[in-house]
């Protein structure tokens, strides 16, 4: 799965889970400041990311994540490691 596809699926997830306006979701968008996602949301998001990666996602992997692009990179890294 390429980063484009991961981004598209992540965007759907953000809209569905947090009612984020699709137009606001860019790779540079900060999850906390721009998209109003809090620490509790982050936990939900990490659980749901399993649907994209197809495997359990460790919350530790997301410690440094700030932007949508960061999430895409972490998920991409995980799918590559799994392959």
């Amino acid at each position: 799965m390429g980063t484009q596809e991961i981004f598209a699926r992540l965007r759907d997830l953000l809209v569905e889970l947090f009612e984020v306006e699709p137009a606001k979701i860019t790779l540079e968008a900060n999850l906390y400041k721009d998209l109003d996602i809090d620490s509790i949301d982050a936990v939900d998001l990490i659980i749901k990311l399993r649907e994209i990666t197809g495997r359990r996602v460790q919350p530790e992997a997301f410690k440094q994540v700030r932007t949508v692009g960061d999430v895409v990179n972490v998920v991409y890294g995980l799918t590559q490691a799994a392959a």
Binding site: L17, F18, E19, D38, S39, I40, D41, V43, D44
Partner: protein, 269 residues
């Protein structure tokens, strides 16, 4: 008439100063007299906390009467008895610095989430610690503790706006209170506070007293059930409940005719 008005204004500046000093020193004096005495005569820490909270409530009731006698303010409470039910999650809007004082003066035993700065303030630190008030943290860390408080039958007071309301601006709330209600599966008890004319708002110095003594109106509403939200995805439930809370308080303030939130009046503030 003009001269009398100016005299009254001058007096209220002095009286407000006296009130601030009384509040700060009063808390310190209680923290080294009655509160330790309550601790010495209580079998355990939990009992101490409850007794200190009762003393706090009683002393703040005296304090608001003191301010009334000095001619600074007047107040009215609608539905006071509803605040005394135990194990409630009480949510209030936050127009002024005095909100927490007024609410706690009306509730004998209640835990309260306060901003962290209270615990570094030299006057507030000791009383807040004695009363077991909870310093604001991320909702994630707080939720477990707070849900446990309510389940154990104690009431909890939260100001979901997280900071004082900006007059004329729409009510904007953080999601923590909704997340707590959903975690504890308990209804929310809304309390609408209206201060008229607006005073002691954020960033306003204490000596800027309003043109006339101000009136505080406290209106205790009916519980907001959370059942309709439980079927939703938790992230969506918290968002919808928060939005509905904002709408509740906006409507409630407009109904009261709050000067800072009535359509068309905002410009006058």
């Amino acid at each position: 008439m003009k001269a009398l008005q100016r005299l009254n204004h001058g007096w209220r500046v002095i009286a407000t100063g006296i009130a601030f000093v009384t509040f700060g020193l009063g808390g310190l004096v209680l923290s080294v007299t009655l509160f330790p005495l309550a601790a010495l005569t209580s079998p355990d820490a939990a009992t101490t906390k409850r007794r200190v909270q009762r003393l706090m409530s009683a002393s703040w009731r005296l304090f608001v009467w003191f301010m009334k006698l000095m001619g600074i303010l007047t107040w009215e409470v609608h539905g006071r008895e509803k605040l005394r039910e135990r194990g409630q999650l009480i949510v209030a809007n936050h127009p002024s610095l005095l909100d927490v004082v007024f609410l706690i003066s009306q509730i004998p035993e209640v835990d309260c989430i306060v901003k962290r700065a209270i615990f570094t303030n030299r006057f507030m630190r000791l009383p807040a610690t004695w009363a077991g008030y909870i310093a604001e943290r991320s909702a994630e860390e707080l939720i477990g503790d707070c849900a446990a408080t309510i389940t154990a039958g104690h009431s909890l007071l939260i100001f979901p706006e997280g900071t004082r309301t900006v007059p004329g601006q729409p009510i904007s709330m953080r999601r923590g209170a909704a997340q707590m209600a959903l975690a504890a599966k308990c209804p929310l008890r809304p309390v609408t506070l209206s201060v008229s004319p607006p005073t002691l708002i954020k960033g306003q110095p204490w000596y800027h007293v309003p043109p006339r003594p101000f009136h505080v109106r406290i209106e205790v509403g009916e519980p907001i059930a959370i059942e309709p939200y439980l079927a939703m995805e938790p992230s969506l439930a918290a968002r919808h409940l928060t939005r509905d809370l904002e709408a509740y308080f906006t409507a409630s303030l407009q109904k009261i005719g709050d000067p800072a939130h009535t359509t068309g009046m905002a410009a006058a503030v």
